[in-house]
């Protein structure tokens, strides 16, 4: 029973990170319809930016994390403006943009390897406090991840419902042609969406940096997890991404109770397969952001 409780806590911690990944990915895909595989390297850029700020510049952790988030937002916007947008402007099909996205992901991974070497980079002085709650251990990072999901979901919901840019994002996600017809600058809004989505993923990346360190290919798995979470939850839905993230995190963690560890990476995709069979539109599709 103690093991079950510990796996539950671990699942909630990982689920929070997955929820953040799904929120960012879902926002980008739900609004622009671009399957953004370069989301993975951008995630790594966030971790390296935070690592450089903390290790090389010696800045405090909170400021380093903010630099990681800002770096990812800039990199995300740059990827849209310099890579995807020119393709869209030429009327390329979504398949071409998908291939571009995969190619971009590989190129950015290689550039990160050239810049930072394949070794794991960590922040040496950092150790997360651990709390013992009865039979389970809870780390400050796990609690921080849960708090981050609550904060990001609340801020995103308010932003989308209450601001002019938020309304424009909802409009663009609903009908791109109509968004142009009512006078929304769809290119600018897409750029903003890429910046916000990348910034959200960066929060998860900073937690990964603190927990495991940074590597050039650290975004490879998260991009697929983000895809699974966003699709399982219902693309573009905030409650969906959160529910999807926790579902994947808990199933993955609790699955270890009975399933050999080598299957851990497959659990999320089995879940995706099952949800697609039963509810192809995702668990929370149709609910508003």
């Amino acid at each position: 029973m103690d093991l079950f409780a510990q796996l539950l806590v671990n699942g909630l911690g990982n689920g929070s990170r997955y929820a953040l990944l799904g929120l960012g990915f879902g926002l980008i895909f739900g609004t622009t319809r671009i399957v953004h595989f370069a989301y993975g390297p951008i995630y790594a850029v966030a971790a390296y930016a935070a690592w450089l700020a903390a290790s090389a510049a010696g800045l405090p952790l909170a400021i380093s994390a903010a630099i990681g988030v800002a770096g990812a937002a800039l990199a995300g916007a740059a990827v849209y403006g310099l890579a995807y947008r020119p393709f869209e402007a030429r009327g390329m099909s979504s398949h071409s943009v998908l291939i571009l996205s995969l190619a971009l992901s590989i190129v950015l991974d290689s550039l990160l390897t050239l810049a930072f070497t394949p070794s794991v980079q960590t922040i040496p002085e950092f150790t997360a406090p651990i709390f013992i709650l009865g039979p389970v251990y809870v780390t400050a990072l796990q609690l921080g991840q849960i708090a981050a999901v609550v904060a990001v979901a609340a801020i995103l919901t308010l932003f989308l419902r209450r601001t002019r840019y938020g309304q424009a994002i909802l409009a663009l996600g609903d009908n791109r042609d109509m968004a142009r017809i009512v006078g929304i600058d769809t290119d600018r809004i897409s750029l903003v969406v890429f910046a916000i989505g990348s910034a959200v993923s960066a929060i998860a990346a900073v937690f990964t940096l603190l927990n495991e360190g940074a590597t050039p290919t650290m975004g490879f798995n998260p991009v697929f997890i983000a895809f699974v979470v966003a699709v399982v939850g219902g693309l573009g839905s905030i409650p969906g991404a959160i529910a999807g993230g926790y579902l994947v995190g808990l199933v993955e963690s609790l699955g270890l109770w009975k399933i050999p560890t080598e299957w851990q990476n497959s659990i999320a995709f089995v879940l995706l397969f099952l949800v697609m069979l039963v509810r192809p539109q995702g668990l929370f599709s149709g609910l508003k952001r």
Partner: protein, 235 residues
Amino acid sequence: MSARLVIEGLNAGYGKKTVVNGVDLVVEPGEIVTVLGHNGAGKTTLLRGIFGLIRLKSGKVGFDGRDITGRSPSDNILDGVALVPQGHGIFRSLTVQQNLELGGFSVTDKAVIAERIARVFGLFPILEERHRQIGGTLSGGQQQMLAIGMALMSGPRLLILDEPSIGLAPLLVERVMDSIREINAELGTTILLVEQNLKQGLAVANRAIVLNRGTKLYDGSPAELADEGRLIAMF
């Protein structure tokens, strides 16, 4: 007073295909001009070209004496041009209220937005009753009213409508055409209307244009065009 809309030698299409071929057209302030033609005659392409949704191959578009050729839809809305696209141009997942607010996206003054929403509700009272309803769950006629209401939110001097009667029951078509007359008479908005419903399109118009394979075949009185023999010759 200068003409509201002046189109000179407009060529537009998709890729290498030219759909609208050298069309000239002048629309005076306060007019209702109906553009008629078969499927594929180039009516929608003409409207999308005027509004800046597609890039023109050549030609000029002037609005209230200014050259607006090649300008983006967002610039055209700021200038006073609005478009109601074909097929219920609304945001289907958003509420009636959100749709109307987005229709006024170019307007930054909240008081003006509130005033225009009230005006749209005056024109289409059913939208006020259903202002919290999701747009995609409205009936076809109500969606069309919402689409027209959204276009009015920017306060246009020229309202372009692309087949607003498509897919509507005859009674609803009458209601939509009445609202077009009302917008023209009460708000003084100039209307450029594309219609496949010949009877309704001619009944509402001050002037009719007929397009055939991208070229202008007729520009004149709707009454003359309504003559059966002439219509048969045209279509």
